[in-house]
Each structure stands twice: as structure tokens, then as C-alpha cells.
Symmetry: C2
Subunit: 151 residues, 2 copies
């Protein structure tokens, strides 16, 4: 079973390598609630000590779908399709998705995803608490003078 | 200038297409503070009506770097490298990054990124408010019975 490698860590950051996106299929985990084996999925929160998001990368086999729809309690989810194409459904709406599709789903949305392509679909899911973001885009950032060490 | 296409929208979701990742270089925006033109960057929060994250996709030209380091006030950032390789620096630490590298940076971390490869580096940045996530992983989700419309 594939594992995330630690890359570097210090007071203000944690860096890891999850490896090539084509190898995501080699990750697996035991679902903490129903104890089923889930293949092709890796979560990043614990590995990176994240405090504002839970991000997963997923590899969905050709011509397959997530086995069940789900909702959330507090968290918004954003799905981003990196490779492959198929369908996404929220409540009664079902639509085509492909590389570059981005779907933000509110906690109450009943969501499901299908890969209709003949290659693995690579997609990511970003969980964050609904309505938690205050400042954003460039408004929260500030330039600082630093001499890059790569020069 | 490339624009995000609306895909579908309803009470519980917003879906868009940002297009092929290789075409991210065709996006551009005017930085709201310093009014400079920034090429190869697209923000997703407004397009998807997200409330917990600001996500950007970025295309950094071959052998180039972000022109300045920055910090944040309230937001944690997670950088994910989708294609290419180079360097990432936080404070005094500089390390190699490549496809599949994930770096979580606390607001105070002084961060910069360089693409050392001969192709565009594709990476994404996810902003969320530090310490905002409460439930996560599978603990926040709940299965619901839905008949997929794609069948």
C-alpha cells in the first residue's frame, strides 16, 4: 500500500510528496465508520497538519462510480476534475464533467460522481467549513522581502 | 483572455469549467492592490460561490519564479504541484518540489516558488482560514439514498 512521504517540515509549514497522480490508484484506506477498504483515495490533512481544510486525491477506475451519494454536516466540498470525464449529480441535477470542471457543493447537497471514460478519473475534493473564509484572494496577503535560496 | 464557463447551478451547488490545465496560461487578471497584470492565474471563489476556500490554479512559465515572497494574515495556504518541478521556500528552508508535492503553509510563513523545469509548472493554491475546520475526513459526511440519473 502506497504511503505519503515526508518532504520537509518546520515551524510554519509541512511538506509531503504523494507521488505521481497516475499512481494514486495504489493508495488505500479503511473507512473509519463502516470499516470498508477504499482504494485509490488519499487524505492530506493529517500528513500536512492542515487546520482549515481536509483535501483528498482520488483515482476512480474506468467506467465506475462512487458507490453511494452523501451529504455533509458543516463542510462545503469543492470537487475538481484533473483527468478523465463523466457525470456529477447534486440533488436532481446531473451534468457532464471533464478535466477542469470545478463543483462547489453546500453541506446539504446530495452528491455523487461517475467516471464514464476508459481511463482512471483523477479528481480532488476539498472540505472546508461553510462560511468560514473571511479575507480572501489577494486581500489577505502581504509581500515580504526575502532573498530566494534557489538562486 | 480566457474566461471560466458556467456549467450548472442550483440551490446547493455551483459548477464551472476552467478548461484544460494546459490552457491555464491563457488566464490573466489585474492584481486588485498593485494593479499589475498577472498572467497564468485563475481564482475560483467568486465563480463557484465558495464560502470556505479561495482556490487558484496557476501556470508558471518554464525556468521562472513568483516575483515576490508573501505572508498571510488569517489564512493557511496549501500548495499542490500538478505538473513540473522546481523549488519551494518557506522562511529559511528551501527544498525540491515536483508533481504530487503538497505544502501546507501557516499564515506567518514567508513563501516563494520557482519552476526549474522546461515546461510550464501547473500548481494550485488553496486558502482557508487557519484553525477553521472542525469535523473532517469521513466524520462530517453521511450516506443518503439517491438513484443516480446517469444510469
Amino acid at each position: 500500500m502506497k504511503k505519503i512521504e515526508k518532504l520537509s517540515e518546520n515551524t510554519h509549514y509541512s511538506a509531503v510528496n504523494m507521488g505521481s497522480l497516475n499512481d494514486l490508484k495504489d493508495y488505500a484506506l479503511i473507512h473509519p465508520v463502516n470499516k470498508r477498504l477504499i482504494e485509490g483515495k488519499v487524505f492530506l490533512k493529517n500528513a500536512t497538519n492542515a487546520t482549515g481544510t481536509e483535501i483528498s486525491f482520488n483515482s476512480l477506475p474506468p467506467q465506475s462510480e462512487q458507490p453511494y451519494f452523501h451529504i455533509h454536516r458543516k463542510n462545503e466540498e469543492t470537487y475538481i476534475i484533473i483527468k478523465g470525464f463523466g457525470f456529477f449529480q447534486v440533488d436532481e441535477d446531473c451534468f457532464n464533467i471533464r478535466e477542469g470542471s470545478v463543483i462547489r457543493v453546500a453541506p446539504q447537497g446530495k452528491r455523487g460522481i461517475r467516471n464514464s471514460s476508459d481511463e482512471a478519473m483523477i479528481y480532488m475534493v476539498i472540505q472546508s467549513k461553510e462560511n468560514s473564509l473571511e479575507e480572501h484572494t489577494t486581500a489577505d496577503g502581504e509581500r515580504v522581502p526575502v532573498e530566494p535560496k534557489w538562486r
